[in-house]
């Protein structure tokens, strides 16, 4: 397989540069942006809800399984669950799932528009297609992914508490006490910073692969898969880099 990193990176940067021009009609761009916010935010809420609850529950059970020493207070379980979810699980795991859900949708939508000449039709009307089709998706991504990560964090912690209480590992009071112990607001800032970059990666990488599809249905499928794989890899790289820089 030919590895064309610089070719794709250069084209990706040109695509981002090409998005910025004076909108032909601000109202239409705003409408498109709101539509994308609904698609990304509301459209992904269901899957975020389910994975966050179970992610929190499993984290509680596994932490309790490992902290068996009688000298460690049970509230520590809640502390570990809280920090694990805020620092890593909510931003990274949610973003990996969103790369699959939102990324493949964006890539296949734009790919289909390219193949069926809808993008050419917009170009001929005199519309900046990168600005009209891609920019609202990226802006919606960097706004809605942090919102979903916040929701995921809350749901994860709640799921952890419920799992702990239902399985008899920890009482609700102990869990809530643990949540308040040594809480650092910086961790929330860190999680939101990560999710901002992850939102940018998911939407822009998927848009790049979808916008540049050449061929037919088979190529749309390939572009969709490549968009998800590349987004996931970049999310993991970015996760490591931001952790090394910010923590």
């Amino acid at each position: 397989m030919e590895f064309k990193f610089f070719y794709h990176f250069g084209n990706y940067l040109l695509m981002l540069k090409g998005m910025f021009s004076r909108p032909e009609n601000m109202k239409m761009y705003w409408k498109q942006f709101m539509q994308q916010c609904v698609d990304i935010g509301v459209g992904s809420f269901g899957i975020v809800f389910i994975i966050s609850l179970f992610m929190g529950g499993v984290t509680t059970l596994q932490t309790a399984y490992q902290l068996v020493s009688p000298v460690i207070p049970k509230s520590t379980i809640a502390q570990v669950v809280r920090d694990t979810i805020i620092l890593e699980f909510a931003p990274t795991l949610t973003s990996i799932v969103l790369a699959g859900v939102v990324g493949s949708k964006i890539a296949s939508e734009l790919g289909n528009m390219r193949v069926s000449e809808q993008i050419d039709a917009l170009e001929i009307m005199g519309i900046n297609t990168k600005g009209y089709l891609i920019l609202p998706k990226i802006l919606a991504g960097i706004l809605m992914v942090p919102v979903l990560v916040c929701i995921s964090g809350f749901l994860g912690v709640w799921g952890g508490k419920e799992a702990g209480v239902l399985s008899g590992i920890i009482s609700a009071d102990q869990f809530l006490m643990g949540l308040r112990q040594e809480f650092r607001a910086y961790n929330v800032f860190f999680a939101l910073s990560k999710s901002f970059f992850f939102g940018l990666i998911i939407t822009s990488v998927s848009a790049y692969y979808g916008y540049n599809v050449r061929g037919g249905a088979l190529e749309i499928g390939k572009a969709s898969t490549t968009a998800v794989v590349v987004s996931c890899v970049l999310i993991l790289f970015m996760d490591y880099a931001l952790t090394a820089i910010l923590l």
Partner: protein, 277 residues
Amino acid sequence: MIELQDIKKGFGDKEILKGVSAVMESGKVNLIIGSSGSGKTVMMKCMVGLIEVDAGIIKYDGQNFSGMDNQQRKEIRQKIGMLFQGSALFDSMTVEQNVMFPLDMFGTGSYRDKKKRVAECLERVNLKDAAKKFPAEISGGMKKRVGIARAIVLNPKYLFCDEPNSGLDPQTSLLIDQLIKELTLEYNITTVINTHDMNTVMESGDHIVYMYQGQKQWEGTNKDIVFSNDQLLNDFIFASEFLREAKEMRQTELYSSGKWKEETKREAPGNGGEQKK
């Protein structure tokens, strides 16, 4: 009027357009014909700016389109309407919303005015009853008509049609051809059609450019074709025995009725149109 001056375009080592010059006249249906791979689609895409030319000049009413930047091109593009081979309708929008889209993006009137204009265009293409339907719910011919309605909604000066009859039955094809011809005359539009369809060539071809291997091989009108002795053109147009016989009958008919001289006054008999090697 659109002028092409010595247009060249290649992809990699392969030269697709080898210096094509032509003039697409206003108020006429200008056809680009040629076999697959002759460069007609590339030529049309160069004309609308979807593909950049390697050399040569494209002028829209004297304005050098090929030398313009994107911002300047936007102004010209707002005067262009295009009907795509696959119609290129927006799947998530109804027929009415598809036609209204250019008005929403560039129109200045009220919502009521826009609705009225959309209704006019849909009525013009005989599709008023399909306004609330989605593209997936209508036939191929109806999609083409919606494409035409969308292309004319902003009163374009230039109309491009890429294979408007592909995938349509002969009767529907004829309706589409008639519609395009009527609109061209009604609004004095410069219409450029890229086609393989011989009915379109014979019925609507006010001005025909025949492309062969990236070059303009022949240029003339639909009447000139009957008298042309260009072998490549004849092989392309009158490909079947049936069409060859029809051509001979038409020639005989014109000869015996005394119209031969009148029809061929531009050229000597048998040399209709302009040949260019």
